[in-house]
Amino acid sequence: MSTAAEKPRSLSWRQFRAILRKDIVMELRTKEMVTSMGIYALLTMVVYQVALSQASEAFDPREIASGLLWLAFIFTSMLGLNRSLVHEKDQGCLEALLLSPVDRPVIFFAKAIGNLVFLGIVEMLTIPIFAFLFLQGSGYAGDWWMIPLVLAAGSLGIAGVGTLLATMSVNTKGKDFVLAVLMVPLMYPLLLAAVSATTTAVLGGADATTPFWQAMALIAGYDGIMLVASYGLYEFVVGA
């Protein structure tokens, strides 16, 4: 790294990068989070197959595809978030971070971005598998950038709020259960909007643009409010 004589503004940037790098390096060595999340997502697909096995021939899987996908993402993300914070706690890393002169918001953003990266990787692995298993022969009607945009915006909300909630739940008795109880209702508006945006992107049509952007506006509003709230509350939560 460079010398300490640099501007203080770049200091938090370097701290941010250091924490993020720590998470990524640890993941590269253990490959624990992405593997467990990926396998979990794959297992979810198997369960979906069972759930859809009695559907009739005329059933169009595209209508519920995005719902199923986001369902997989939300549950996988809970698994990953829990793991990400359990590591920090069990190995005493979070305490060390708190002892070091790092601003609390920097910790929040580094952890959230780290979780976002892992969630993104899992999503990119899951979508082709899902399409291969369930959507063979169905067309995709929207523009190519629509789905990545929804994924990015939705995952940002999941990672941001999830990091705050996981930081709380990891210190409770029923770790992952508490995370689920806190997270699912809180994620509801985001999920609803994300599923609606993804579905309009998949189904397309002449009048798909307006509902798509309405849903995107809802996601953006949710992300804005919730990230500001999480950012403001993280300082209290992480130090407790």
Binding site: V161, L164, M168, S169, N171, T172, K173, G174, F177, V178, V181, L182, V184, P185, L186, Y188, P189, I225, M226, A229, S230, L233, F236, V237, A240
Partner: protein, 289 residues
């Protein structure tokens, strides 16, 4: 003890006010009491599948048959008519729909809406105390936040029960995933989650901080749920959009004041109980030493 007395007095007044509102709803409010209700068209509600569902109350079609009636009323109406020929042609009136049962379900409005609005207010109060706790770290604010959340949860459950009853009566189905109902349901889940979080944290200081933070996040849903019927197309009625007749507004306001008093009284009594318990703990500790 003084606070407890005030609370009991408030509870009494609040109870009297809500009871008064209840009777006003039946005897002075616009949509009138027992008996039958005549409307120009059947009350219907369209569900998501596009099927038209009529209200749960059975109704009969009553066509007005005032064929040049010799009755005083009809002739009186005819004399006003400028054509002078008060005849059957002009009074082949549109069919009216007579409800065999009283227009009963509307009366729940005077209970459901005050309770719902009180629940929003008390939830916001809980979040306010949550913020106060996070900034001051004084234990009393945590207790206040928790008690407010408890009171809010009581109100939310009451709102849910009355709401579901009304939905069945008016839309002929127990539950519908429409914006207001959904956001309110989510709000209830968040409040339940608040207590799950509390019970699951062992460290006292930590529990208080987490609960305060989560109360703030949960309270974000209160304004969303309140305004969503005004922003999105929703089947749920919006109270102040179209205005209310004074005879309806009066019992509503009386019920609202009564409900807030009851809410405050519950809050004060619970706070009192909590203080007594803390004092008891102190005494117990002192005895053990």
């Amino acid at each position: 003890m003084k606070q407890l007395k005030i609370a009991l007095v408030l509870l009494l007044i609040g109870g009297v006010l809500t009871t008064v509102a209840f009777f006003m709803a039946f005897f002075t409010a616009e949509v009138q009491r027992f008996g039958t209700v005549k409307l120009d068209e059947p009350v219907t509600y369209q569900n998501e599948a596009g099927e038209t569902i009529t209200s749960a109350f059975p109704f009969q079609i009553v066509t007005q048959e005032t064929t040049a009636a010799p009755s005083a009323e009809a002739s009186g109406a005819a004399s006003v008519d400028t054509t002078g020929t008060a005849s059957a042609e002009t009074t082949v009136a549109a069919p009216q729909f007579e409800y065999g049962k009283p227009w009963f379900s509307q009366k729940i409005f005077y209970f459901h809406v005050p309770v719902a609005e009180a629940s929003f207010l008390v939830l916001l109060l809980s979040a306010y105390f949550g913020i106060r706790f996070l900034t001051t770290r004084r234990k009393e604010y945590d207790t206040k936040s928790r008690i407010a959340m408890e009171t809010a949860l009581v109100f939310v459950v009451l709102t849910m029960i009355t709401g579901v009853l009304w939905t069945k009566a008016s839309w002929n189905q127990w539950w519908d995933w429409e914006p207001r109902l959904t956001t309110y349901f989510i709000m209830m889940l968040l409040m339940v989650a608040y207590f799950v979080l509390r019970n699951s944290s062992e460290d006292e200081e930590r529990r208080a901080v987490y609960a305060g933070a989560f109360a703030v996040i949960a309270a974000i849903d209160a304004p969303i749920s309140f305004f969503i019927t005004r922003l999105l197309p929703s089947n749920h009625p919006v109270v102040f959009k179209s205005g209310m007749a004074t005879s309806n507004l009066l019992p509503f306001i009386v019920a609202q004041i009564g409900m807030l008093m009851i809410g405050y009284a519950i809050y004060v009594v619970r706070m009192h109980e909590e203080r007594m318990r803390e004092r008891l703990e102190v005494v117990k500790d002192a005895l053990e030493d």
